[in-house]
């Protein structure tokens, strides 16, 4: 049963075999949590949002066509859930920027740790759009083709946006490191 592809499982869910959703959850809840956490820096909300994404899959299972990849559909729904979350939190500030320890003079002394700390701060200074594309590419390890489908843009546009986001990240990082 474990050898079934995500698409095959989701098509079974669509046909009424709702138990298969448990296996899809098992396969994807960790990376999905990673994505939501990196976009919000709120652990509890991210856990709630993981549940919401999978509940939406159940609710909107009839819309799953099976011709695209399950993973891109999942991130598509996750972005909608994320948007609703941001709308609910009108006072949404840049994520992670509110994290404790995000003060320059509290940076760890170890060089490697300090670099990671500064880079994390730089990443959180990026706009949601720039951070999102880097998270999808670097942490979710999605191909440009998949990112293009999720964001509903062309692959060429993905290339441009990733390049732009990296330039901004480097500039923010160097500014903090000075």
């Amino acid at each position: 049963m474990n050898s079934l592809t995500d698409n095959a499982l989701m098509l079974k869910v669509k046909a009424g075999d709702l138990d298969r959703m448990g296996l899809l959850f098992e396969r994807h809840y960790k990376p999905l949590f990673g994505f939501l956490y990196r976009m919000t820096a709120d652990r509890e909300s991210s856990e709630d949002m993981v549940q919401n994404v999978f509940l939406r899959m159940l609710k909107y299972r009839h819309t799953f066509k099976g011709n695209g990849e399950f993973r891109t559909w999942m991130y598509h729904l996750a972005r909608n859930v994320l948007n609703d979350h941001h709308k609910g939190n009108k006072r949404h500030a840049a994520p992670l920027a509110q994290e404790p320890g995000d003060v320059a003079d509290e940076a760890p002394e170890n060089t490697m740790e300090e670099q990671v700390h500064l880079l994390n701060r730089a990443l959180n200074k990026l706009s949601d759009e720039n951070r999102e594309i880097l998270v999808l590419s670097r942490y979710q390890e999605l191909a440009y083709r998949e990112i293009a489908q999720i964001l509903d843009i062309s692959e060429a546009n993905v290339r441009v946006r990733i390049h732009r986001a990296m330039v901004q990240l480097k500039s923010a990082y160097l500014k903090l490191a000075d």
């Binding site: 949590f33 652990r43 509940l55 939190n89 880079l119 440009y144």
Partner: protein, 257 residues
């Protein structure tokens, strides 16, 4: 320069990749830029997200179970009868005729009957439903309790006993989904002052973030000024989730406007 990140990501088409590598070999400036970008890309991998709490797996499986049971069609006597019936298509026409006659007869009969009789029957049905709600709402299965709560929406005049049972479920039921459904059902009955009062009193009793947040939504929808005090009291809780806190503060402001 734009191609560096695509190269690192393995996203350059084969011919572009070869051309880029040739340039890399000849251009020390490009090589340095590429190394720098690769170092940054690798450093990004060191930023770790916390491990996800394993309990969300069992929480989802519980929810899936409830969802599945609620969505499942209930095969009963009628559906079995239907199956048998499908094997005997020749009887369908005669059945339809009998049904037509019975329908006409019943229509005529009911027309002549006193309207009071119909009202009495409808009241009896309503009373029966209320009794079913009261018995199902104590059931150990969360699905059955959700069924009980949904049933209240079919009752025309919900009496005080049912309202008390719903309020008690809202305050004490261990399952988040059951409490959420109950809140939804009670919101429909919010014209009743007793329900409003019960909802306001329930605010401080809710401890799960999802219920606290839903409570704030309902109070905003009802524009219930009396909820401001208990909502403020909720803000003083040490264990209050920061997202819920923001939302409650916002809700209080919007209610007060």
């Amino acid at each position: 320069m734009e191609k560096i990140i695509d190269y690192i990501n393995g996203e350059l088409p084969e011919h572009e990749k070869r051309a880029f590598e040739e340039r890399l070999a000849l251009d020390p400036e490009l090589r340095a830029a590429c190394e720098e970008e690769k170092a940054l890309w690798n450093l990004m991998a060191e930023i770790k997200a916390p491990a996800v709490n394993e309990h969300i797996k069992s929480r989802f499986l519980d929810t899936l179970q409830v969802y599945k049971e609620a969505a499942a069609p209930r095969p009963g006597f009628l559906s079995r009868l239907k199956e048998i019936w499908n094997f005997q298509p020749q009887l369908k026409l005669s059945y339809a005729l009998v049904l037509l006659c019975v329908g006409l007869g019943t229509g005529l009969y009911l027309n002549r009957k006193n309207h009071g009789e119909i009202a009495r029957m409808s009241a009896e049905v309503s009373e029966m439903k209320q009794m079913m709600v009261l018995s199902l709402i104590e059931n150990p299965s969360a699905t059955e309790r959700i069924r009980a709560v949904s049933m209240t929406q079919e009752i025309r005049n919900v009496d005080d006993t049912v309202i008390e049972a719903l309020l008690s479920t809202l305050n004490r039921d261990p399952n988040d989904n059951v409490r959420l459904m109950t809140l939804e059902a009670l919101t429909e009955l919010a014209d009743n002052p007793k329900v409003r009062e019960g909802l306001v009193q329930s605010i401080v009793l809710q401890t799960s973030p999802i219920m606290q947040s839903a409570m704030a939504d309902v109070m905003l929808k009802l524009q219930e000024k009396r909820s401001v005090k208990p909502l403020q009291k909720m803000l003083n809780r040490d264990d209050l989730n920061s997202t819920v806190k923001d939302k409650v503060e916002q809700t209080i402001q919007e209610i007060l406007i």
